[in-house]
Each structure stands twice: as structure tokens, then as C-alpha cells.
Amino acid sequence: MNILLLSLILCLSIFSLIAKDLLHAVIALSAISILSALLFTFLKAPDVAITEAAVGTGVSTIIYVWAIRHTKRKDGDK
């Protein structure tokens, strides 16, 4: 089961590297933090999971989206 979660995290991180749209990459990063908080919980580290859930899902997603909103979106290669 941990192997399955790790392979899902690997697929999502490869997708966030090769995604053309920045918002899709941010959504994939948020899903990565969801799955890694779940993985930390299964590996019996609930304090690390609390920190990952608070920082990874909430704060970093808000900061990334805020940074994308204040820059221009370049849609030339779609």
C-alpha cells in the first residue's frame, strides 16, 4: 500500500514537471501534499503529517496561486 502511494506521488510529480499550464502544476503539487500527509500518517509520524497538511496544502498553495495571479499567463503554445 505504501508502494502504491509512492508511485502515485511519483506520477503526480512528473506531471507537475511537464505541465504547460502553471495552475495544473499547482493543483498537482497540492495533491502531492495530500498523498504525502497520508503516507506520513501510515508511517506512524502524525506530527510530521500535521505540519505537512498545514504548510503543504494550505500555505504553499495559497502563495503559489497568489504569485500566479500577479503575473501574466502566457497562452501561446496551446
Binding site: 502511494l5 493543483i27 497540492s30 495533491a31 495559497i62 495571479r69
Partner: protein
Amino acid sequence: MTNFILSGMKYFLIVFATITTIRLLLGPSASDRLVAMNVLSSIALALLILWGVTTKNVLYLDVALVYDIFGFLGFLAITRFLKNTKDKL
């Protein structure tokens, strides 16, 4: 019997998370990916509470609570971003 049902629920929820992740990878627009991430968050919440019930430890319920509050803030930020864009969703 109870432990058998709980572990069966755990594997079912892992399979659901896998299918939802495939939808998140394939979804053509940002709205599809956002809904897939919301469903994935609900599945993760159910898995955390299930793990807390299985191990009879109250600390995992705190993880689920903190995760749900901050995950809602992240969804709110992305939804506000989608409101201000004029392109196709």
C-alpha cells in the same frame, strides 16, 4: 471481523484514490482537476479517520481536522483564481 472490514475499507479507499489520481492526471481543464483534487481530499480525510479508528489513537483525528481546515483554504484560493480568469474553464 471488525478488523477484516476495516482493512477491506482501507484497500477500497486506496483504489478510489488511485482512480481519482488518474482523473486528475487526465483532466483536460482546470475545473476537472480541481474537482478531482477535492474528491481526493475527501478520500484522504476518510482514510485518516479510518486509520485513527483502526489504531485507536486520538492523535490521527487531529491530523484529519488540521488537514481539512487548511485544505479548504487551498481550494478557496484556487477557486478565487478561477473566478477572475476569463478564458475557458
